[in-house]
Amino acid sequence: MKVKAVLLLITMMLQGSIAAETITVKGSDTMVILAQRWAELYMSKHPEVTIQVTGGGSGTGISALINGTTDICNSSRPMKQSEREKLKQRFNSLGVEIKSAKDGLAVYVHESNPVKELTLAQIKAIYTGKITNWKQLGGPEAKIILYSRENNSGTYVYFKDNVLGGDDYAAATQSMPGTAAVVNAVAKDKFGVGYGGAAYGKGIKFVKIKRDDSSPGYEPTPENVKSGDYPISRFLFLYTRSRPTGALKAYIDWILSDEGQQVVSKVGYFPIR
């Protein structure tokens, strides 16, 4: 009898925590359009489920996961050890990481910019302030205007860790509130350079990226990203606090299904399988 009462209590508590099949999703701005498309399609097929999607950046999403204010965190970078520590402290869990899509991180320049290729070392030198003029890269005599994301962005962190090798961005770098804003800025600035998800590349030109001086340059096309030839590609993650159950699990399973992965392709990212 006592065991039954305890089980009933636990069931009630769990039901309370998964309130009436409403799923909140928060995090990466890079993933916000993808997450909205997933949510719209899923809700049209499962009207009993409500999915609320907001952006704010990967860091914001991870904070929300730690604070208990979102069920799923979208993140365009892996969770940091320090963030896992916070999850451990509050939820005794490391969080569950789910790879949901793949993205090529593109480097954008203005359409009129004659520079067509850059090596990873050159990109690092540009963003750390060691190369400051397009002339040093075979372009016009003009100062390079740097556009980046804000530091709560997973794209910002990924670029810093994987392209800049952990070095700091140049002080002159202008932070923009989203990838679309970076694209907009570069589209209007003849001497601008920016980076962001390949799915956002409209009104600008992708630079071909070379691993080093002797290797060929690649554009962030689906083929190049899938084959691994494109040097700056990353996974787009979903994070949950604990192993997903119920409506949350059904939704994540659907995202990973063929139907969910077709949405990935339509939005301009690359399916994980």
């Binding site: 636990i10 925590s17 208990g68 005794n92 969080g95 192993r243 159950t245």
Partner: protein, 445 residues
């Protein structure tokens, strides 16, 4: 001819009209261009203003102000009991409201340098908890140096924040060995950055006054302590195993010739009155090991098991086995071998609930048993009695800021010898009525 004239007239009129239209269009375009230029100017102005504000905001973002308040009601089994659940109850009192902690922490983090000041405001006044500056070397980003008042780098429970800890208080073991948790000194930390294969290891090493953070240094010996730790995350399995070993090596000055230690044969204190004891130093040495296991149980949620064991030598006084700072007091030193441990289990249920079970033991004098205390002719007293505490609790996280805690400490003590006649030992013939129920509300920001 008439037709040709008419056609010519029409051409003239239409040309005139067309010229008029073109002029009007040009004017409109000029106005539009002017307006765009004006708007561009405004946009540039706004952009400039945004960049200026951003610089200010970026500067302010380096300052973090956090804090929490723990307000609680407690009721004990008996009046005026000695307690480790928030301090002793006043004589004749078995229930009380307390502002257990009222912390405000200011942190200025400049990436490689850090300033931290934390104060504690309670009904007893204002006290300093942390006051330190840290520098991290910018090359390897692995070594950092800290100076000031900070958590003693020993074991796990000291550095586990009171705002996050699931039990209302630290175990008796830590409250006895490390009262106040902090000390004044310098600390070196080695924490390899993420991505490094060595990032699973960390080392903390401190040199401290060894007199508690509320006193000034009174000798030239410094206490050395440190912890070598590891963190093994198995993310695929949602399992983490962390742990470490800690060492404390310090000295306590004796202001008296008399120094007492246990004679293990007679199980009683034996006095050493050598002249060299006056102004001499006695070892304060601890050795500890801690382990924490975290596992996400399917359906239920995160589970943690944490345990810690410390043993060593603690110089104290006849009346106290606590961390001792002699200052200028002329009191004989009592050297005791001690041991203590705890195990703590926390199960998360859903988003808002946590259940806690904790058991701890502290034996301030491992060379004697409870039955030795109170025997005629022996100078052992209540300070040599072993305690164990079983705690059970429920935590409800109201929201991201507020949590409510219901916790019950069931404290058991060793029974002293039935023949004991000393008045202070008589209550120890039975288990003391010193269980405590705590109801706490915490607000954290």
């Amino acid at each position: 001819m008439r037709t040709a004239s008419l056609a010519f007239c029409l051409l003239l009129v239409s040309t005139g009209l067309s010229a008029q239209e073109t002029a009007s269009r040009d004017t409109a375009l000029a106005k539009l261009a002017e307006r765009i230029e004006e708007l561009q100017g405004q946009l540039d102005g706004l952009n400039e203003s945004y960049l200026e504000s951003k610089t200010t905001v970026d500067g302010l973002k380096k300052i973090k102000i956090t804090g929490y308040i723990q307000s609680q009601f407690q009721t004990a089994d008996g009046d005026g009991i000695a307690s480790f659940a928030g301090g002793n109850f006043p004589a004749g009192v078995h229930s009380r409201f307390q502002l257990r902690r009222g912390r405000v922490k200011v942190n200025y983090d400049n990436d490689i340098t850090q300033y931290v000041l934390q104060i504690d405001v309670t009904q007893n006044g204002v006290g300093i908890k942390d006051a330190y500056a840290s520098i991290k070397e910018p090359w390897l980003k692995t070594f950092s140096f800290t100076g000031g008042i900070f958590d003693r780098p020993f074991g796990f429970e000291i550095s586990y924040s009171s705002s996050s800890r699931e039990t209302p208080e630290r175990s008796r073991l830590f409250q006895t060995l490390f009262p106040g948790e902090r000390e004044l000194g310098a600390k070196l930390e080695i924490t390899p950055p993420e991505g490094s294969p060595l990032s699973i290891f960390n080392v903390k090493f401190g040199v401290l006054n060894g007199v508690l953070n509320t006193a000034n240094e009174n000798d030239n010996y410094k206490d050395l302590l440190g912890r070598a730790g590891f963190q093994l995350p198995f993310t695929e399995q949602n399992l983490a195993i962390d742990g470490g070993v800690s060492v404390y090596s310090g000295k306590v000055r004796s202001n008296s010739r008399a120094s007492y230690s246990i004679n293990t044969g007679t199980k009683n204190y034996a006095v050493d009155s050598a002249v060299t004891n006056l102004g001499g130093y006695f070892d304060r040495s601890y050795l500890g090991a801690d382990v924490q296991v975290y596992y996400d149980l399917p359906v239920l949620g995160g589970l943690s098991l944490r345990g810690e064991f410390i043993s060593g030598k603690q110089p104290g006084t006849s009346a106290s086995g606590q961390f001792y700072n002699p200052g200028t007091t002329v009191t004989p030193i009592y050297n005791r071998n001690f041991a203590g441990w705890y195990i703590n289990c926390v199960q998360n249920i859903g988003l808002q609930h946590q259940f806690v079970l904790k058991y701890d033991e502290y034996d301030p004098n491992t060379d004697v048993e409870g039955a030795d205390v109170g025997v005629a002719g022996k100078s052992l007293n209540a300070t040599d009695v072993k305690y164990s505490t079983l705690g059970i609790g429920w935590i409800y996280h109201w929201d991201a800021n507020v949590k409510l805690v219901l916790y019950y400490d069931m404290v058991s003590n060793e029974k002293v010898n039935a023949s004991a006649t000393t008045a202070s030992l008589l209550p120890f013939k039975e288990d003391l009525k010193d269980n405590v129920l705590t109801v706490r509300m915490q607000y954290k920001f």
